[in-house]
Structures are given as C-alpha cells and as structure tokens.
C-alpha cells in the first residue's frame, strides 16, 4: 500500500515543467523625434527571452529554494506556475492542472506570499481579511476554526488580530500574510522574499512556521529569496537560474562539495604568537591568540591538519568553518556554473 502510494507520487510530481520558455516582445523604439515618428508607422519588434528551456519536477512535500540574480527569470517562472502568465512554449503543470488554462482552479491549489506586497485589507482589522479569504476559498467553518487556532498559536497572532493592518509592524504583517496564504490549505505555496526587511527574531519565527507547515502538512514550498540564510535553514534542494536558464538543480550538499573545496580551521591558542605556519595550509593570525588555517580538503584531511597544529602549538579551542552558501552562489553568478571548478574563489 505504502509502496503503491510512493510509486504514484513519483509518477506525478506536484510541479512539472518541460522546456518552459517565455519571450517578451516589445516594439523597437528608435531614439529621437524622427525615430518616434518611425515607431508610429513601422513595427519592428525586439524579443527579450525571460525564461528558456526550464525543465524541472518537484515532488509533493518538497521545500525548494529557487535562486537567481535579479532579472534571472525567477518571477517570470513563478507567474507561469500561478497561471497569470502564458508561456511562449513548453509545458507546465501544477497539481495536474495547466495553470494558465484553468487559472481559477489552479488558484485553489496554491498560496502566495510576497514579502514586498501584502494581500491583507489595509484599513480593516487583520481578522477581517481572514474572514474574506474564508469566503473566497469557501473554507468550511470547521476547517477555518482549526486553521485559525493553529496559525494564531504558531504565529502568536492573538494580540493583534483586532488591529487594523496599517498599524501592524512589518513582522506582524508578514505573519498575517502567511496565515492568509495558508488558510485554504494550499498544496503548493510560493514564497517571494518572505523575510525581507525583518529582524532576526521575526525571520526565525517565519522560518520556523514554514518548516512546521512543511513537516506537519506536507505542503510543497518554492522559496524565492536573496537571503541565502533562509535557503540554508529550510531547503535541502535548490534550483539555480541565471539569464533565464536553469544552471543547477540538486542538493545544497552537492553544490557545497563541488565548490566548497576549502575549509578553514579556526584555532584559539593558549599563548600569544607572532607568527604561525603549518605545511599544506594558508595560515593567518587574526589576533595574537586566534589563528586561521585555510586548507583544501582534497589534499589534506581535517584530522591531519588538527594533528599538525596541536603538535606545534598549545591549543585551547578548535572549530572548522564551512564555506557559506552565499559565497558559493556569488561565485556561480560571477563565473557561471561548472561541475568541476578548478580554482578556489578568493576569500571574501
């Protein structure tokens, strides 16, 4: 039984795109007054390829980071998945539905949260927005009560449910927006910069909420963000897009293994030193008692390095720094993705 369900789930991913492509066409404008006049009569078009050849499949319950620099085609893809943009070519399916053909039906399966844009009623108490959404999605009274109870507790909303949205802090508003997006139990939720502008505490609350819903309800999340800490904390898988093309789709670990060939051993020394040196590692003294050794883990194991260090210096504490996802991604944006990069990025 269990196996059968799994086979079915594999046979039909919740989100599926094949060779998805979107080209925006606009009228070519020639500068100057004469040019403006010419534009009026002759129609020359310029095509801008926003997304091309994007093929991906997401299984139900996945939490995927959809990453790329500004203008890479992220929001164009999301718009096609939500059905408000018609692809130029290629296929797209969300929960078995072609979004742009049946936008309204698709809308019932999805939820959206935009960090920069609220879908709450500005002038009215927060609770009224929920009641409105209840009517829009036809949520049963029972389900509404259960969800409201759950979200109110998880997001600690009880103290501001009766406050007009315009008087809420950004953190409170975002929590309201999350509850609003989840009220109709969507199968897929698109998050666009959900933690932008939030303080660390609010960020953590939102991240915890996403992880909780994903675990408890098996909701699929696509997280679009520039804050890679969100991705590191929440996602196992990331999809990288640049210039409209998919350049990486896989586990964050794979990316780290490919790019993060170097580690740093941070050592606290018992006695101050003027100079430190270890064979096979780049040494650096941050303070007289704090040394950093950068090493390539392909040529030397951490164990060897630790042994060499402890043999030579009295050590009070030791830790290993992993490369941050952010520096890896930054390098890929700059150089493009290659499966076997041969040089290590300069420390930044």
């Amino acid at each position: 039984m269990d196996r059968q369900v799994r086979v079915e789930a594999q046979a039909m991913p919740i989100i599926e795109t094949r060779e998805l492509r979107k080209v925006f066409r606009s009228i070519k404008r020639t500068p100057g007054a004469g040019g403006a006049l010419r534009t009026l009569f002759s129609r020359e078009y310029v095509d801008k390829v926003a997304v091309t050849g994007v093929t991906m499949a997401l299984d139900a319950g996945e939490l995927v980071g959809y990453i790329g620099p500004n203008g890479a085609g992220k929001s164009t893809t999301i718009k096609m998945l939500t059905g408000i943009l018609v692809p130029t070519s290629g296929e797209v399916r969300v929960a078995g539905i072609v979004p742009y053909e049946r936008r309204s039906e698709n809308a019932r399966n999805i939820g959206v949260v935009f960090g920069q844009r609220s879908q709450l009623y500005w002038d009215l108490p927060l609770i009224e927005s929920f009641e409105l959404l209840r009517a829009i999605y036809d949520v049963s009274a029972e389900r509404y009560r259960a969800n409201m109870e759950y979200f109110t507790q998880l997001l600690e909303m009880d103290e501001f449910l009766a406050t007009p949205v315009r008087q809420l802090s950004l953190g409170q508003r975002m929590r309201g927006d999350f509850a609003a997006a989840m009220l109709h139990d969507p199968k897929v939720v698109f998050l666009d910069e959900p933690t932008i502008g939030l303080d660390v505490v609010a960020k953590e609350a939102i991240r915890e909420f996403i992880a909780d819903i994903n675990r408890e309800r098996g909701t699929t999340f696509i997280l679009t963000t520039h804050d890679l800490a969100d991705v590191e904390r929440l996602c196992r898988r990331i999809v990288l897009i640049d210039h409209g093309r998919l350049i990486f789709d896989g586990a964050i670990e794979t990316l780290r293994d490919t790019y993060g060939t170097h580690r740093t051993l941070v050592v606290e020394l018992c006695e101050p030193e003027q100079h430190v040196e270890i064979e096979g590692a780049e040494a650096e003294l941050t303070t007289p008692t704090l040394a950093r050794f950068r090493f390539d883990r392909r040529t030397m194991s951490a164990e060897t390095l630790v042994r060499r260090v402890t043999e030579r210096y009295p050590v009070s504490d030791i830790s290993i720094e992993e490369p941050e996802l952010e520096s890896i991604i930054r390098r890929i944006y700059r150089e493009g993705y290659v499966a076997e990069p041969d040089t290590e990025p300069a420390t930044t």
Binding site: K22, I84, R117, Q119, D123, L124, E131, L132, I136
Partner: protein, 265 residues
C-alpha cells in the same frame, strides 16, 4: 465550477466597512454638498430674478432638480472601480489574479459596498438640505420610476468608470482622462444644468449621448418633464447604453487581461 455569491457579498461588506473608517471624509462630503446647494440656490434665484423662466421651468422646479441632482451625486460620484487603477499601478492586480474569483464582479461588489455607505448619507443630507431649500415631491408613480431609472443610471455610470479605469492597464495613469470625462459628463449629463435648457439642436445631441442616461433621465422623470407615457422609452434608452457599455467592457477587459498574461503587465 459553480458560482458562489458569498465572496462577493463579503467584498461588498468589507468595502462598506473600509469606507466607514474614513469618518472625516464622510462629514466633509455632507458639508460640501450643503455649500454647493446653497450656492446653486443663490445663482438660480438671481438668474430667475432677471429673466423669464427658461423652457417654462419655474424656479421651485429648478431648485428641486438641483437638490435631487446633488443628492444623487453623493452616490454617483463614487468611483467604485478606482481600485482597478490603484491595483494595476501597485502591481497587486497580479495577486488578485491568483485568486479564484471573477475580477470585474469583485470590483463591482466593492463599488456597491462603497456606494451603500454613501447612499445612507442621502438621508441626513436631505434632512439638512430641507433647511436651505424646499423640495417638490412627485406623485408615487414618478417616484418609483425615478428610483428605477436611478438604478439604471448607476449601472451606466459604473460601466463608464470601469472602462476608464481599465485604461490603466495600458497607461497606468488615468487621472487626467477621468477628470475631463467627469467634467464633460457632469455638464452633458445634466447634473449642473437641465439638458432641456440647451438650445434645440444641441439639446437633441446631448439627450442622445450616454451621459444623459446617468443624471438627466432619472431627474427629468422626477420633475415630470418625462411623462409616464414616455417612461418605457426612457428606460429602454438607458438599458441600451448599459448593454452597449457592458459589451464594450467585456472586450476591453479581455484585452487588458491578455496584456497582463502575455506581456506580464
């Protein structure tokens, strides 16, 4: 998918509640109406003192006309579809499109909600207006016909606004166009001066324009210029404009949507 009325009733309720939060604006509306009414009374009285009654309309009739027109404007000046313009400019139209709702119907319900709040204002406004002017009351049949005609005019007015606000999908800004259309429609719609005061040839034209369907037709029914025998014709003309604009709106809306889903807004 089956159609459910519940979301739209809820939209109207929320719009009503939202408008009610702007209490100052509500009071200013009544105040400005009373000032305008007083000025109109002075102007008409002065004009009538120097001239013979135009088109055989006595002073008390013209003052009744003006008062009723101003009370109607409390409802008709509500641009219920300005949220289209706002939401297109903010880009939040995208989130609206991600909901399982019929957007034009959503805008309409929102407009109705706003209108209902302002319609309530008619009662205190009329009460206060009676301190300034005397208002003639027509026979019951004319009164019923007036309200029916007013409702038709409301729909025509709504569709005119809808069309204008939908232009925002192409231009983002519609304020200037709307201001011009508002002035033209107030003048040619008979809100300021009864259309029967226009000279013969011009009168035929303005009465044939859609603007007349908004203010002039219900008002002329109220004042008895349009007799019961002509009610059917008056309603038919309003209905024709309403239907015409509704069809036009459908096409414009489709074009607007296509623009969003193909061009990405």
């Amino acid at each position: 998918m089956t159609f459910r009325i519940a979301p739209y009733r809820e939209f109207a309720k929320k719009a009503f509640a939202r408008e009610a939060t702007y209490r100052m604006e509500v009071f200013t509306n009544i105040g400005s109406l009373l000032v305008r009414l007083y000025l109109m009374k002075m102007v008409w009285t002065a004009l009538y003192a120097q001239n013979t009654a135009p088109a055989g309309v006595p002073l008390h009739a013209i003052i009744t006309y003006t008062t009723v027109a101003l009370l109607m404007s409390l409802v008709l000046e509500i641009d219920g579809t300005r949220i289209i313009r706002d939401r297109v400019r903010e880009g939040s139209i995208a989130t609206d499109l991600m909901k399982p709702i019929n957007l034009p119907l959503y805008f309409f319900s929102d407009g109705v909600g706003q209108t209902l709040l302002h319609a309530i204002l008619i009662v205190p406004s009329l009460f206060l207006a009676l301190f300034i002017v005397h208002v003639d009351v027509p026979p019951p049949l004319a009164l019923v016909a007036f309200f029916f005609s007013f409702a038709l005019g409301y729909v025509v007015n709504f569709l005119l606004n809808f069309l204008m606000n939908t232009v925002a999908f192409w231009t983002l800004e519609t304020f200037a166009i709307q201001l011009i259309v508002r002035w033209v429609s107030d003048l040619l719609g008979g809100q300021i001066v009864p259309l029967i005061f226009f000279p013969g040839f011009l009168q035929k034209i303005v009465l044939a324009l859609p603007f007349a369907a908004v203010y002039s037709t219900p008002l002329l029914i109220y004042t008895g210029t349009i007799q019961p025998s002509d009610y059917a014709r008056a309603f038919a003309s309003q209905l024709a404009w309403g239907t015409g604009f509704a069809i036009l709106s459908t096409f414009v809306w489709r074009g607007a949507l296509k623009r969003v889903v193909v061009q990405g807004g």
